[in-house]
């Protein structure tokens, strides 16, 4: 696996909190344009892995590269986001006292400095882009609602919309289907597949049906390192994976 | 005042005793008066040989008296003695301090311990003279009048109205003279404690004329401790005398061995007043003592720091619950402390009026009451106001600020705006020394008490079902509720617990600080600093935080002064929080994000 051609490259990453090894010698490569599903039991280190990629947590050892050349371990959240890595949280996190429209406007790719935003005027192009996104995430009618008043599923979508508004190269999506109805789950899967056409995507999910419906390569994490990798059928045939999931 | 006079005057003592048939015979009556007069001073008993020490001590005192009688030259009848002394005692009432001082000296010169009670009373401000006939009495106020006691015979002498008697004034200089006089009069008293006091008095007086008396007393002394003090007193006197060098060198050595500040003070004086070998020896001794004091100073500073830390801990520990655990920005916390202090005041006031004997237990009585009062008020506040504000901690700031204003004003309206007196029980007063370090009892008890409260709280939170529920509710309210915990009650009780602990902190703080409506305001900021510095939600953090801040403050104080030390501590907190944005002991995991 060549670092130079990868979208995201993790090698030998370890991090521990107070002696507890949350991530243990983790290596992972995502190619440009790839969609990858990551599964694993609770405490396998999925969220911590995302924290490392997005700059929230610094790894103790190991390398994290973006686009093959950019060392992410030296950057903070804001600059990693500006490099083109978007992240959706496990629990939907939107700006509740802003309207749907404002949520998207804040996420749009634009200069991020205080003075730039102070004198910012919304352009026609930006408006058009927001309209497009509203269409995509099916919230056109709710554009003037406060985000606080959206349903759970709608908030998930809004957050995905905000991710897209950033125009990232890589999306990290943490449990997008949690708390959704079956119909919503299916729709979300469609939405992700749509997105994956021109972005790299990493999806962390518990719901096996959902992962199956994505139909992509799967990585199984366990105790902070990769346990198995391959198609869903391949990994679910792996005895160790079964053991981890069913317990010893 | 020469020794001869002393000896010559002694014989009068025996007849007095004889007249009373036995020294013990009139004990009850006299003792009664003494009890009334000076409940606080257990050392008064010397005046009459106490039979509390059992037959042996009685025998001993009797023998002493007998010896004195044998030594007597002349024989004077009891009436004569009283009559002879009475005019002298009455003279005390005449003139200004200088005059009184001369009279005290004259009384001392009689060498007759019978006058000691009169001198003691004079020193304590209990000696009065009757305006009508100029007779001097020991007077105890009772209501609007005074009970009079004859200072020589100890017999009750009727009562007098407020305007009929006048107090004989006494000032510090006079008190020092009396102390010295009593010292020489009582150097051979039967009670070792009295002899000890006498020796200490002579030590302070540094009177070279006492050297012979001391030698005599030393020869007869059986108690080692008293002997040591007498030797020190003798050394002090020798340094102040014109005795020869060898005596002085020996004295310097004695004081050097004594090694404390009192000795240092004398040695410094001796150093500048003498020359040659004595000066050199004194200089060496001074250097030695100063070095040892400097070492002890570090220990002393740590002690001060711990003591300040324990005060901070006490003040903050209740807040560590209401703010730290429950997340209520409890601005009324200081007022809970204040209420605890006022409960102590009320308890002591009741005890004073109805059961003075219980005074030493007043704090123990106050503790549960303060806990209950503050706790109930806390529960009231929680039920009435705070429970509507969960999830809006910043608004609890607003509401509890309002409550704190109301409570302050309420206390001001009920108890008045001025300081109220909360006394220290005997076991909280005074100090003892460890090496060169002075440890005051109240500070020591407060440190222990703070640690005890802390340990108790930890136990409650970790080992009881209530503690379990509390932790459950604060960690995950919904889950706790669904498991059948009645969260509203747990909230109320937890807040009550925090407030109650603040209340018992108030009991302790009443011992060292003002009891006024402003009491709480003085502690609230420091309390928040401690809790935040230690890490919100972590009781151990509060403990370590309080102690750290206390010790840091006390180490800075000697160099920077009290004001700058405090400023530096605040700056230290600000910088520390930059390094650890969640305090000393940050809560781990995803749970806390306030």
């Amino acid at each position: 696996m060549a670092r130079s051609t990868s979208q995201l490259y993790l090698d030998g990453v370890s991090v521990s909190f107070d002696g507890f090894k949350a991530i243990n010698d983790l290596s992972l490569t995502i190619d440009p344009g790839e969609m990858r599903a990551i599964i694993g039991p609770n405490g396998a280190g999925k969220t911590t892995m995302m924290d490392i990629i997005t700059g929230k947590t610094r790894p103790d050892t190991g390398e994290v590269f973006f686009n093959g050349v950019i060392d992410l371990t030296g950057e903070d959240e804001a600059s990693i986001a500006e490099l083109g890595i978007g992240r959706k949280f496990q629990k939907p996190t939107v700006f509740e006292s802003h309207t749907v429209w404002d949520n998207l406007e804040l996420s749009l790719k634009a200069p991020r400095g205080p003075f730039a935003t102070l004198f910012h005027v919304v352009t026609g192009a930006e408006k058009k882009r927001i309209e497009e996104l509203l269409e995509l995430i099916r919230l056109g009618e709710k554009r003037d609602e406060l985000a606080a008043n959206l349903s759970h599923g709608q908030k998930q979508w809004l957050e995905i919309g905000m991710l897209l508004a950033q125009d990232p190269k890589l999306l990290l999506v943490d449990e997008p289907a949690a708390g959704m109805t079956d119909a919503e789950t299916a729709e979300t899967a469609e939405l992700l597949k749509e997105i994956a056409k021109d972005h790299s995507v990493v999806v962390v999910e518990h719901d096996m049906d959902f992962v199956r419906s994505l139909g992509v390569k799967v990585t199984v994490l366990h105790e902070g390192s990769v346990l198995a990798e391959g198609s869903l059928d391949h990994v679910s045939a792996d005895e160790r994976v079964v053991e981890v999931y069913l317990g010893r | 005042m020469r020794d001869g006079q002393l000896m010559g005057a002694r014989p009068v003592f025996f007849p007095v005793a004889k007249n009373r048939r036995s020294p013990v015979a009139h004990l009850p009556e006299r003792n009664l008066i003494l009890r009334d007069a000076e409940t606080a001073d257990p050392q008064d008993d010397w005046r009459i040989p106490s039979n509390r020490g059992g037959p042996m001590s009685f025998l001993k005192s009797f023998l002493v008296l007998l010896c004195l009688a044998v030594l007597s030259i002349g024989s004077v009848s009891a009436q004569d003695s009283s009559e002879a002394l009475r005019p002298l005692v009455n003279e005390l009432a005449k003139g200004k301090f200088d005059e009184t001082q001369r009279q005290v000296e004259a009384l001392k010169a009689t060498g007759d311990p019978t006058v000691a009670p009169a001198l003691e009373a004079l020193s304590a401000g209990d000696l009065y003279f009757r305006k009508s006939d100029g007779m001097v009495f020991i007077a105890q106020r009772e209501g609007k009048s005074y009970n009079l006691t004859d200072p020589l015979t100890g017999e009750a002498a009727g009562t007098a109205g407020r305007r009929e008697v006048k107090k004989i004034k006494v000032n510090n200089r006079l008190r020092r003279v009396i102390r010295a006089a009593l010292g020489s009069l009582t150097l051979q008293a039967p009670d070792p404690a009295v002899r000890m006091t006498a020796a200490e008095a002579i030590f302070k007086a540094q009177d070279p004329e006492k050297i012979e008396a001391l030698d005599e007393a030393l020869a007869a002394e059986t108690d080692d401790n008293v002997r040591t003090v007498m030797e020190q007193a003798r050394a002090a006197a020798v340094l102040n005398s014109d005795l020869d060098e060898s005596e002085k060198l020996e004295a310097v050595q004695t004081l050097s061995d004594m090694g404390n500040r009192d000795a240092l003070s004398l040695l410094i004086a001796a150093q500048s007043a003498s020359a040659g070998a004595v000066q050199e020896a004194a200089a060496n001794a001074v250097a030695k003592i100063e070095k040892s004091i400097a070492t002890w100073d570090a220990a002393q500073n740590i002690w001060y720091g711990l003591s300040l830390g324990s005060v901070l801990l006490l003040a903050a520990i209740g807040l560590a619950i209401t703010f730290g655990v429950m997340g209520v920005i409890n601005m009324a916390h200081g007022e809970m402390v204040m209420i605890g202090a006022y409960v102590t005041f009320v308890v002591q006031e009741l005890i004073r009026t109805s059961a003075p004997g219980l005074f030493d237990y007043s704090l123990f009585i106050a503790l549960p009451l303060a806990f209950a009062t503050s706790g109930l008020i806390g529960i009231g506040i929680e039920r009435g106001v705070i429970r509507w504000l969960y999830g809006r901690p910043l608004e609890t700031l607003l509401a509890t600020w309002g409550i704190s204003l109301i409570l302050q004003q309420a206390v001001r309206s009920i108890f008045g705006p001025t300081n109220r007196e909360v006394g220290n029980p005997d076991w909280m007063s005074g100090a003892f020394e460890i090496g060169q370090m002075t440890v005051t009892y109240n500070r020591m008890w407060i440190i222990l008490f703070a640690l005890l409260v802390f340990a108790g709280l930890i136990l409650v939170l970790k080992k009881t079902p209530f503690g379990l529920y509390t932790r459950a509710v604060t960690q995950n309210r919904r889950m706790a509720a669904s498991m059948g915990i009645r969260t509203p009650w747990i909230d109320a009780l937890t807040f009550g617990l925090g407030s109650g602990i603040a209340g018992i902190a108030g009991v302790a703080l009443s011992q060292i600080d003002n009891v006024s409506p402003n009491l709480g305001q003085g502690y609230i900021i420091d309390s928040f600093m401690v809790v935040v510095f230690g890490g919100v939600g972590n009781l151990w953090g509060t403990l370590v935080g309080a102690m750290t801040l206390g010790v840091v403050n006390k180490f800075l104080e000697p160099y920077a002064g009290a004001v700058l030390a405090k400023i530096l501590v605040l700056v230290f907190i600000i910088l520390f929080i930059q390094k650890r944005p969640r305090g000393l002991f940050a809560l781990k995991g995803r749970a806390v994000e306030a």
Partner: protein
């Protein structure tokens, strides 16, 4: 760019507020100076001084609201910036006394003569010039806020931790200024002012002018705050307040935003302090007292956090209540004031303005939703409101998790 920035600040609400403020600025001095004293419309000097003080308090409240209401930084130390601005102005006024002090020393203020200082300390240089003092009024609080904020925000000190260290800051300054060795007059502070810009500070015309200046400063700062909060930057601030991590992961450098608004706010507080001092005639370390900072927060909460008008209204109302209570119920006024705070918290959780505008929009909402009933199936639990009003205040208090600011549980 600039025009749109300014234009954005103006809307109906701002218009009404500024019109009212203008009326006050014009009418009160006119009522004092032009209307004869026996007329019922005469405004006594006492009232002018009092209202002038209220206006400076309102400006202070505005500055607190900007950081707390819009960016979620609860400052318990804003009085420090207020007092520093006040001291800068006070130092100018002291230098203006010149040889009219009791000792008649042309250079040294009285307290220095008194404590045997033989020369002016270096930090007093320049304060004899108004422009320099005016600059310091803004720069000193601004610089302190910048340095403090630079460290605190970079270290990501948030929530109560930040609040408490702001309190530590003001407390430390309180103690420092109490020290006579500092050269700021110790506990007595700076007082006995004579002139400002050559005008007698006690003259009614000067008072009226100071009153008007306070009003204008308040209006201008309101306008600036309004422009800031309605810009995209304002939206980012609210975003930071509601979900700081989210904002970070969107690529915003949260600390820069906080630092920006924190510094601006401190400068405004400094201006408020500078206008306050000549009107009350004294500045002393008591102004640094942590309790003062807490009070400011309370004004804002009473008026309505996150609404600029609310901050102004809260400051004026609470202080009016205080003035009134201390005169009418001198012995028990704390009951009334304390009770007011409790009642407001319990029954007007969003403050006066917040509650009123909530009622207003709820009314509008009902009309709207009556026509468009259907769709989402999730009827709004809380009516939409000014984007600034914190949403977390909307829900019912009970049963919610303890964490107040909805923070993401990453």
């Amino acid at each position: 760019m600039m025009t749109s920035f300014l234009f954005r600040a103006m809307d109906a609400r701002a218009g009404i507020f500024l019109a009212l403020l203008t009326a006050v600025i014009l009418l009160v001095p006119a009522g004092n100076l032009l209307v004869p004293e026996d007329s019922p419309f005469h405004v006594p000097t006492y009232t002018v001084a009092l209202m002038g003080k209220y206006l400076t308090y309102a400006l202070l409240a505005l500055s607190v609201d900007l950081v707390w209401g819009f960016c979620g930084i609860l400052s318990l130390g804003h009085a420090a910036f207020f007092a520093l601005g006040g001291y800068a102005m006070g130092m100018y006024l002291m230098r203006q006394i010149g040889s009219r002090g009791v000792y008649g020393d042309p250079i040294l203020p009285d307290f220095m003569v008194f404590l045997n200082w033989d020369a002016l300390p270096w930090f007093w240089y320049g304060f004899d010039m108004f422009w320099f003092a005016a600059l310091m009024v803004v720069l000193v609080p601004g610089a302190l806020a910048f340095i403090f904020g630079w460290f605190a925000f970079r270290s990501r000190v948030t929530g109560v931790y930040l609040s408490i260290i702001t309190q530590a800051l003001t407390y430390a300054l309180l103690l420092a200024f109490f020290r006579n060795d500092m050269g700021f007059g110790g506990n007595n502070g700076l007082t006995d002012f004579k002139d400002i810009l050559g005008f007698d500070i006690q003259a009614n015309t000067t008072r009226a002018a100071l009153f008007a200046a306070s009003g204008i400063a308040l209006g201008l700062c309101y306008f600036i705050c309004r422009a800031i909060t309605r810009s995209k930057l304002g939206k980012v601030l609210v975003a930071v307040r509601d979900a700081e991590s989210r904002t970070r992961f969107l690529g915003y450098r949260v600390e820069h935003y906080k630092l920006f608004v924190w510094t601006i706010s401190a400068m405004m507080a400094g201006i408020a302090g500078a206008l306050y001092v000549p009107q009350v005639g004294i500045i002393n370390p008591g102004e640094f007292a942590p309790a003062n900072s807490i009070e400011v927060v309370i004004w804002v909460a009473v008026g309505g956090r996150g609404t600029l008008v609310g901050a102004v209204l809260g400051a004026v109302l609470v202080n009016f209540a205080k003035t009134w209570f201390t005169a009418v119920l001198p012995d028990v006024w704390l009951f009334a004031l304390g009770g007011l705070f409790v009642v407001v918290t319990l029954f007007l959780p969003k403050g006066i303005v917040g509650t009123v505008s909530q009622g207003w929009t709820a009314l509008k909402q009902r009309k709207v939703s009556a026509s468009a009933e259907s769709g989402s199936g999730t009827p709004p639990t809380a009516p939409p409101q000014s984007p600034a009003a914190p949403a977390n205040l909307a829900g019912p208090g009970k049963g919610k998790p303890l964490s107040s600011e909805p923070q993401p549980a990453e």
